[in-house]
Symmetry: C2
Subunit: 266 residues, 2 copies
């Protein structure tokens, strides 16, 4: 991990070009700081209306940054000139809701009826939290953020339904309000928390045993704060067992040309 | 108009029930103050993905409050129990992009493949402007807001494309910044202005001759401020000449059960 902790200062386009030619395959956390990174979900056109409607109804867990219609591989708003089939470091292929393989690119699998969804990622608001003097424990501990499947239902749309997945960050009690304010400014990347405090209220039994990611230490005087998580739409899509779903591999996000600050409101 | 200027204090559900039985047919401005009113666009399922994508790409001109899938006539989030076919005071029917008729209800025209879109309306932010001490001229003058077709393109999606339509409100120069702040709090109803000042910058030749609505007086020391307008999605949908499009009649909006304040951010 020592190489990876020291990243060259490349632009988003330079990182995408490296990934395109198969170089520097690695998780994207910390790369191109200040630029928005995105989750990728690709589905056949027949499921696209339902998934777009699901996103419209669940904007906190599924904040859409851009939808790329069938027939196109270029995210014109988020990264003009990029190729969604090649410009992420690593991809996953799900068939009938089951992980079939991980791949370096999607060129051989791409068909003209695929619709691509770029979904906001919490990296953006985590930078804002740190800048506001609020510690982000899993970054301090160099682990993946702890994620939990809650009893909060998403609003269903067509074939898509399922529980909300949350990520948790422990926040010092005297900084909880500031954390709400800071993340409220970023509705395009999950926005304000959806719960503060007692995990049992949203159906979480044991913070030390997350459903995904790694547990983190919670210090005395710290309050667990829960944000809707970008894993929700993937989990929900997977549960509907689409014939084909293509995604980024966990942590291997799409690095866009848009700056975090462009997505702040007020 | 004297009767209409004195409205009984009915709840949204009571107004909808009156409209359902054909009573009190009238424009909805000023009715059920404090509750969100919505534009209605109904399209066949075959066009629904493109229109939903258009809305996702143009959130300021086409802020979606709710999408009601084919097979349903109930806006469960905005007004549980309501019937979109009967609960607006007046409707319009467009065939191949041409106004075919106005009707009191849509019952006879409804088919199982229709998808309904409820779109935010500026009534919500106008109340907030007035509460903030910012005059709203067309309300003072009891006319319709002036609207202009600009040279600002919308972001196209599938069959839908066209120019952005804006509404204009003259604001005293020392209140322009406050007007930006106040309306920024309501992204679900067009949000912040999209232009301040010189109309020519966005392709408007003569403020005294709006493309839709009525001209208003602009006083000395007042600056024209332009917001994306809910007429945009209707105009864009109409331009694509869908085989069938059902809408509310101008000014005859859907009165929801949700409060304006619920849609304020920060």
């Amino acid at each position: 991990m020592t190489d990876e902790s020291c990243s060259p200062a490349l632009t988003p386009a330079e990182w995408r070009a490296r990934f395109r030619r198969g170089a520097n395959i690695r998780p994207t956390a910390g790369l191109a700081p200040g630029f928005v990174q995105a989750n990728l979900v690709v589905l056949p056109r027949a499921l696209a209306f339902d998934f777009l409607l699901f996103a419209q109804r669940n904007p906190k867990s599924c904040p859409l940054l851009e939808v790329i219609e069938d027939g196109s591989i270029e995210p014109k708003a988020m990264a003009p000139g990029a190729d969604l089939r090649t410009d992420l470091p690593r991809y996953r292929v799900y068939r009938d809701g089951v992980l079939a393989e991980e791949r370096a690119d999607l060129v051989a699998l791409w068909t003209a009826d695929l619709v691509s969804f770029l979904i906001g990622c919490s990296f953006t608001f985590e930078s804002a939290l740190i800048e506001a003097g609020i510690p982000v424990r899993h970054i301090e501990q160099c682990t993946n953020v702890p994620m939990y499947i809650t009893t909060l239902p998403t609003v269903p749309a067509g074939v898509f339904h399922g529980p909300t997945v949350v990520s948790m960050r422990p926040v010092p009690a005297d900084k909880v309000i500031r954390a709400v304010q800071v993340t409220s400014r970023f509705p395009a990347v999950h926005g304000a928390p959806i719960h503060i405090g007692d995990p049992a209220t949203i159906g979480i039994r044991d913070l030390a045993r997350p459903d995904l990611g790694d547990p983190v230490d919670i210090g005395a005087g710290e309050v667990p704060v829960f944000w809707a998580c970008g894993v929700t739409p993937q989990a929900v899509a997977m549960a509907s067992k689409p014939i084909l779903m293509l995604t980024h591999a966990p942590g291997h996000m799409f690095i866009t040309d848009r700056r975090d600050a462009e997505f702040a409101v007020l």
